[in-house]
Subunit: 245 residues, 2 copies
């Protein structure tokens, strides 16, 4: 079974939702048969690289609140994060373009497989939500995080230096999100059949995992079977189909 | 869309079937949205490591043919391979335990992603079917092929030196093949919904790709949507759900 998670590094509910999903997954009896893939979604794709701003004033302006109210909202988000065992800095975070991080996550999947990608997204969340130093517009920091996820730092730097690298892969994920009807993130898709929108409680993810597991369809066989037809040439424990003269 | 291919390196129809599938995939309009994953299947799991035998006498004994008849059968297999542009040595090949190659293919997927895995299986097929030197019971040869697929040779050697590494992953693939009803290989599974058994003609793979593409189900949403419920906390282009006080 496969779970695809569309998310953005700048999305606090994605950070929280990943932990809630993982809680459900850890208790799922078939967890070893579940593959997790991270997909790209930018909340703010038009924000230029280099345009990094403090979160609190940005929130105040966006929602028409005072900065104190924005701080309160961040604190409540921090409470949600803390309930999942996550550190969340409610003051002094910033916000910027995440395209390069998404490119790097595609590089991680291609060069390091699913484990490296999952590790890297976890490190990016930690860097953005839990640590003092900004993760935006700092290629060397991204290279260091990639290395921490087990990837080759020189190869990661080459990806960041080439703005076209994995750019199509990020755009393809974003198109797919739109095709699947996702307007926001996190957005979880199980076997391309079930969708879970938002940082739902772990119980909802448990239900989704169980439902998707139970719904795995029986296979419909296309073409002829391997049981002796020349068209379905195959090998089995008793040997290979011998080609006809 | 995802295509999983169960196969064995010792399976000539897997070598031919991969090429036929790839011909269909290359002409499929949505090929960029198709991910290919290789799964393990051993034709002869009880053959001990180190028990490597010449193919022609083995075939003659297995099918009760003369060695000349076995040679003819191999030549006809070679004709099938040649029709797909593949080199196939009909004389002097050998046959042995493939478990270590399957472990290495899992390592490739985990450490190098799908591209490295696909490249490595192609190199293993080439080594087994097209080249003079045996690919069986020769860890250094497998290390060299892994390096040719872009993997770290020292890490590949460590996997081969530890017989437990990725052993469970190989066994899990084999259990899944049995659960899906595969008695032989190659066995192709599209989105866990459609199965194609054997080295079918490219047209059958084209039909399977089109049918699976057309059958991608609409998503069933589980839990509440992200449109304002506190349970489905999410971020969108207009900002993040603000946690309630």
């Amino acid at each position: 079974m496969r779970v695809e998670i569309w998310s953005d590094i700048a999305c606090p509910w994605c950070y929280v939702g990943k932990a809630r999903f993982e809680k459900a997954l850890a208790a799922f009896p078939h967890r070893d048969a579940v593959e997790v893939v991270h997909r790209s979604f930018e909340l703010d794709p038009d924000r230029p690289r280099g345009d990094t701003a403090a979160v609190i004033p940005m929130l105040a302006q966006k929602y028409g609140m005072t900065e104190d109210q924005a701080r309160d909202a961040e604190r409540r988000l921090g409470d949600n994060a803390a309930a999942e065992g996550l550190t969340y800095r409610t003051e002094g975070r910033d916000h910027g373009n995440t395209f390069d991080m998404h490119r790097l996550l595609h590089f991680a999947a291609e060069r390091g497989g699913g484990k490296a990608q999952d590790e890297l997204i976890g490190l990016l969340y930690r860097a953005n939500f839990a640590e003092e130093r900004s993760v935006f517009d700092d290629a060397e920091r991204l290279v260091a995080l990639a290395a921490e996820a087990g990837l080759d730092p020189a190869a990661a730097r080459a990806v960041l230096d080439d703005p076209t690298a994995y750019a199509d892969a990020v755009r393809a994920d974003e198109r797919e999100a739109a095709e699947l009807g996702a307007n926001g993130v996190p957005f979880f898709v199980l076997d391309r059949k079930y969708g879970v929108s938002g940082a739902q409680p772990a119980e909802v993810f448990t239900q989704a995992l169980e439902q998707a597991w139970g719904a795995r369809p029986p296979l419909t066989v296309i073409g002829e079977s391997a049981s002796g037809s020349a068209d379905g040439e195959a090998c089995g424990p008793d040997g290979c189909e011998v080609p006809r003269a």
